[in-house]
């Protein structure tokens, strides 16, 4: 085996890896979000204006559906925060459901979400399915 072709391969592979790293870097800068609980989020004022991900339970009686979205409050049992979401509402969404909202931490008490996932009351966590 020629040492020359091996070296060339290593160099080309290196270049490709660098390009992939650049792609990763460029795609993720400014798009990473911080995953917080409601209490953690409210304690960190520095995150206002940044992209965040926050999870909690939808407070009963807080859901207001709008033409292109929904407003509601989520709670982690200690604190609450308002979520204003624009987009398709997942079919599992409802009061008392665990959700994760992803979007801009707009004001101290408001997250403007552009993505909303309900923690699937999936088979994997049957304990959490409300059956009372």
């Amino acid at each position: 085996m020629e040492a020359r072709s091996r070296n060339r391969l290593i160099i080309v592979t290196g270049i490709v890896l660098v390009l992939l790293a650049v792609l990763l870097w460029r795609s993720s800068t400014g798009s990473l979000s911080y995953f917080k609980t409601v209490t953690e989020l409210k304690a960190e004022k520095g995150l206002i204006g940044k992209t965040v991900k926050v999870g909690g339970e939808v407070v009963k009686g807080s859901v207001k559906r709008r033409e292109d979205g929904v407003d509601f409050t989520i709670s982690d049992k200690k604190s609450t925060i308002k979520i204003s979401y624009d987009g398709t509402i997942p079919s599992t969404f409802g009061e008392g459901i665990q959700v994760i909202a992803d979007g801009k931490y707009d004001k101290e008490d408001l997250v403007k979400a552009d993505s909303l996932v309900t923690k699937c009351p999936s088979k994997y966590k049957s304990e959490k399915i409300e059956t009372k």
Partner: protein
């Protein structure tokens, strides 16, 4: 019954210890005598029998609604039909782990049976390793997630499962993936067996190849089923949300792609040996990590789950043990596994395989970073937008690599020959450039046509490039197949038809590979349309027959609604005619529904879809207000049928490659 389950489980653990010890003792003897291994091989059947019995006990619990089983209480209920109750076997992590071990012990027994005539040394080592893995899993099952826990209250009616999951695709999706996961253990066992024996021949690859293909086939089908379910049931209009659990299933799949291609070169060229060994380990590691992500309770996701320290400790130990021992084995034998054919040219099929592997490992790494980042970086996480931005260009580049790869040989490429072969795909791209440009323009316009307030797509030229590369790929792969068949016709003076039949019969591996890669090109075209150019709009109409909703070039005409009430649910069903705006011709009927589940006090939407070849019209009933006005979301998904069609080709190609065939030709070329 639940006590019987525990007794059987303990017996199985003891049996597994016995089997492992049996293998170790017989393999330790100075001379390898195949006849000595007959008894350990047979002991594997006993182990399989015991694990089967344990699985049957649990299944019996579901069938008879035996609420002494805590696991049955939590995952089933008496009002579910028998098939759903039986499928609840794999509904929770305890049962799915048992099911997984059962599959693994079954595959091990089959492997032992098929090799029991020769009892070759490699297989014996591999079986020993497989029995060790089973012991480990069984012990874990008993300590951390025992499915045979007694229901403490001895009272219950069963909690049932989420109504969304009661769908055929969701019932068979988990076992399909588990078959893939269990199957991926076999190449790992053979790789370690080869390393332990310092066996550098291709024998271990020959033995493991079909198992890997089989496992990968099931992973592909499993992922496809999950996507179909997400699309038709979840109602958000997409099929892939980059959710950590979805991503988890992709990890062993990506590893499997790299592994299959490494195996191919290993057998053909006696090179890529380091790749083959490390990818065997990597794929198995990805299986373990996938199980860790879905069952370990580490990562927050749509699929919520509990955090469990025993489980986490177990997984971390296993992962570290696998990495450490594999690094030790591979590094101490590095020189031994040097390739017989090294790269001589930077422009050859070998190099394309090399970069394909790098892409696969890179993809898996991104997903791993995405999965574990929230744990280490102060809650930082990667969202779907980031995954998309990375995956879209990579997918297009990868397809380009695949297409070129179909046209160049191993070793060194003859540039004049290559230029000749490039003529057809390049010609096709030139011819298609203008029509595809117009089509791409129409895709760009679609978003604002559907919803004038929406911002136009930010994809820029990427979509157009994607469509061009897909066209290039389709033609390149077809040309490669034609060239193969033409060579065959010339060589054996056969007619066209018999050459095609003969090609599929004797070189099904290569033929299947071409079909799978053709499918990849079709999938990429579908992904371009359905991820970059989906358009959506929300409209509200009163509950009045004849109301219309006009979107882009079609119209929905309301025909009325109907309420259906049953013991467990109330269903509100709306129905529409879908018309072509210009001609008024009816092109379909849809009935989006809303379902209120009384027992769970939840509402779910059941979407309805008009399937057209070039796009889907997807309609969700989102809400009904006090006055009866209904709010709908209408989505247009261009080219999504290409994703399904391409996936089916990918699966078919893999089945053709897997299909047993007569070993007539000496070079039984795999895909």
């Amino acid at each position: 019954m639940v006590y019987l389950g525990n007794v059987v489980l303990i017996a199985a653990v003891l049996a597994a210890i016995g089997v492992l010890a049996f293998f170790v003792i017989r393999l330790k003897s100075d001379y390898y005598k195949p006849d000595d291994l007959k008894a350990p091989y047979q002991s594997l059947y006993v182990l399989f029998g015991l694990i089967s019995l344990a699985t049957l006990v649990l299944l019996y619990g579901f069938i008879t609604n035996d609420y002494n089983f805590d696991y049955v209480v939590k995952n089933s209920s008496s009002d579910m039909i028998i098939w759903y109750r039986m499928s609840a076997l794999w509904a929770g992590h305890e049962g799915s782990f048992l099911f997984w071990i059962w599959l693994l012990s079954g595959f091990t027994a089959i492997l032992a049976f098929t090799r029991s005539k020769t009892c070759d040394k490699l297989t014996s080592y591999a079986l020993g390793i497989l029995s060790g893995i089973q012991l480990f899993f069984l012990a874990f099952l008993m300590i951390a997630t025992n499915p045979f826990v007694v229901n403490p209250t001895n009272f219950g009616i069963g909690e049932g499962i989420n109504p969304l999951l009661l769908h055929w695709a969701m019932i068979i999706h988990p076992p399909t993936l588990f078959i893939g996961y269990a199957g991926m253990t076999i190449p790992f066992a053979y790789a370690i067996a080869a390393l332990m024996n310092r066996d550098t021949s291709a024998e271990w690859v020959d033995r493991a190849y079909k198992w890997t293909l089989f496992a990968w086939l099931f992973l592909s089908i499993g992922i496809l089923l999950g996507s179909v379910w997400a699309y038709v049931v979840l109602g958000w209009g997409g099929y892939w949300g980059w959710d950590p659990v979805e991503n988890a299933s992709l990890l062993p799949w990506l590893g499997g792609v790299a592994l299959l291609h490494s195996f191919h070169i290993y057998r053909q060229r006696k090179s890529f040996k380091h790749w083959a060994l490390s990818m065997s380990v990597f794929s198995f590691l990805m299986v373990i990590i996938a199980a860790f992500i879905t069952r370990g309770g580490i990562i927050q996701s749509v699929h919520a789950f509990e955090r469990n320290t025993t489980v986490v400790g177990f997984f971390v130990t296993v992962i570290i043990a696998i990495i450490a021992s594999s690094i030790y084995l591979i590094s101490t034998r590095w020189q031994l596994y040097a390739s017989e054919h090294e790269f001589t040219s930077l422009f050859s099929r070998d190099i394309m395989y090399h970069f394909n592997n790098i892409f696969m490992v890179f993809g898996a790494t991104i997903i791993l970073i995405g999965a574990f980042l929230p744990l280490f970086a102060g809650g930082m996480s990667i969202g779907p937008a980031v995954y998309n931005r990375i995956a879209q260009p990579l997918g297009i580049i990868l397809l380009f690599i695949i297409s070129i790869c179909a046209l160049i040989p191993f070793g060194k490429t003859d540039m004049t020959e290559f230029a000749k072969r490039m003529a057809a795909p390049v010609g096709a791209v030139v011819l298609a450039a203008f029509p595809l440009f117009l089509y791409w323009q129409s895709l760009n316009k679609l978003i604002t046509d559907v919803n004038p307030k929406a911002s136009p797509p930010g994809a820029g030229w990427l979509g157009y490039v994607g469509l061009l590369v897909a066209a290039f790929g389709v033609v390149a792969v077809i040309e490669a197949i034609i060239l193969k068949i033409a060579t065959r016709m010339k060589a054996s003076e056969q007619g066209l038809l018999s050459a095609i039949v003969g090609y599929f019969r004797t070189q099904g591996g290569a033929a299947g590979g071409f079909i799978a890669h053709f499918g990849m090109a079709v999938i990429v075209a579908g992904l371009v349309g359905s991820t970059l150019y989906t358009a959506s709009v929300k409209k509200t109409i009163p509950d009045k027959t004849g109301e219309t909703i006009t979107v882009a070039d079609f119209q929905l005409r309301y025909k009325g609604s109907k309420s259906e009430t049953s013991a467990t649910q109330e269903k509100f069903r709306t129905s529409f005619d879908v018309l072509e705006k210009s001609s008024g011709k009816v092109i379909g009927q849809i009935a989006p529904r809303m379902v209120f589940h009384k027992d769970k006090e939840t509402t779910t939407s059941e979407v309805d879809i008009v399937y057209q070849p070039q796009r889907d019209i997807f309609v969700v009933l989102r809400a009904i207000d006090e006055k009866g006005a209904m709010n709908f979301e209408i989505k247009v998904n261009p080219l999504i049928s290409f994703v399904w069609a391409g996936s089916i080709m990918l699966v078919l190609g893999t089945i053709i490659a897997y299909w047993p065939r007569r070993k007539k030709s000496p070079q039984n070329e795999p895909g």
